[in-house]
Symmetry: C2
Subunit: 293 residues, 2 copies
Amino acid sequence: MKRALLAQLGEAGLLRLLTGRWPRKGRSVTVGVGDDCAVLRLGKRSLLFKTDVVVENVHFGPRTPARLIGRKALARALSDIAAMGGIPLAAVITLGLPPNESPRRLAGIYRGIETIARKHGVELVGGETTRAAQLFLNVALLGECRDGPPVLRSGARAGDLIFVTGQLGATQARQHLVFEPRLAEGRWLARHRVASAMMDLSDGLGADLPRLGEASHLGHEIDAHKLPRRRGASVEAAINDGEDYELLFTVPANRAAWLKKKWPFATALHCIGTMRKGPASALAHGFDHFKQR
Amino acid sequence: MKRALLAQLGEAGLLRLLTGRWPRKGRSVTVGVGDDCAVLRLGKRSLLFKTDVVVENVHFGPRTPARLIGRKALARALSDIAAMGGIPLAAVITLGLPPNESPRRLAGIYRGIETIARKHGVELVGGETTRAAQLFLNVALLGECRDGPPVLRSGARAGDLIFVTGQLGATQARQHLVFEPRLAEGRWLARHRVASAMMDLSDGLGADLPRLGEASHLGHEIDAHKLPRRRGASVEAAINDGEDYELLFTVPANRAAWLKKKWPFATALHCIGTMRKGPASALAHGFDHFKQR
């Protein structure tokens, strides 16, 4: 292998380099690398397995309120469980910390973890600490699909309509700290077998929708006027801002009316386009912004 | 809470501060924080759940061969599965990396992970990367106890004999990189219900045996002459050097002869002492070195 710079590879290229040989399916693995969570079949159960890490000066800053750091660390992983239609079960936390870190701040971070864990019924079952140059928190989360099979990124068909929950575009700095993981919504969609494919929006619609398309071997068409924008967010922001943590999912056209009628949540629901035959790499039509990514 | 320095708290004090309120048992949790792995009961199955992290300049250095970094990252977590008598199932890897890290080195690290994963039948099912100031690898590992109930730290009784596998004392710099997780041995001990309590030696006998004693509410008596020492290791080294990754376990006295007769492994097996009634905090008699820790 030639020496290459990480910057040239990008995260996707790096993951391909490192995990390209890992199984998509295996002995007990229904879904390996490449979806929101890994899915493990144990007897009749479908377990979800996910880790998510937050690092100081990358995912939060020195002035971020401690409780919100902890909240975010767990909420990100919860959002991935939501995106499979699962329920969260138990988490193990790894803490990396500089020797001069304040125990008061650490205690605040752990309170933040505990509060959102309690809210969503997650049992905190283990932890480890290590010295590190920079504060980081890794959350390993186990979940389960009890309401139906896991909803994968790969299940969309041509003609399926594309929906998102909530609003897009980060117009306030705290959005990435206070988002609500869409667990109830994801679980409901799985129970009613209404979503053909699903993922959560962590890197922005412009980056994430092509991933769903790639997994489903489809292109897509988005109607810019239908994008639900957070107050003050431009269309660009709605497409390109990351960390929305909303659900992006596809629905067979003949189920869309039922979905809109029966949707029981206060969370907004918007149809923003259609999955189309075409190259998986095709980006949404009409947005040059997509190409810049 | 008063401001305290991490150095004063120590890792044990910090974990008490951060996770002291977390459940030891819960809805589906048989064993929470405080043992080698968390144990989750799902139907009739006992799942094991563990994370372990290695950080550059803490657990390995810039000159450590890349494959051995990856090997160590997974082997440490495997050793914890071994210590419960479990088998490993699937792992998810989180990689934190500085932007100038060499992809060649990263690929080597992942080869190291893959090699030991294949050897022990671990499926690599997911990964995430993040920017960080310092290279780190977090391994989240799922396992299962199929051969009997998980062997906990808390099951020792007064009069049980204390055994260790292998030799103690790190007399070569690479020992912590090339150790063999005692998976077959741990599983055999669980299947034959011969170990009343078990853990792996990661911080050295002098630090770890008191933890087993604390969990079992017992003290202990060690015979210094019986400590199996790696060639060139002093008694001090056998007690205080960390990262042996051998199994430490207790056996009812009336099973000890059977154990010694039936032990089917090339791995050495040594009886080093006896669990005694007494304060859990009591350190091994006769070793002042213990008190220095």
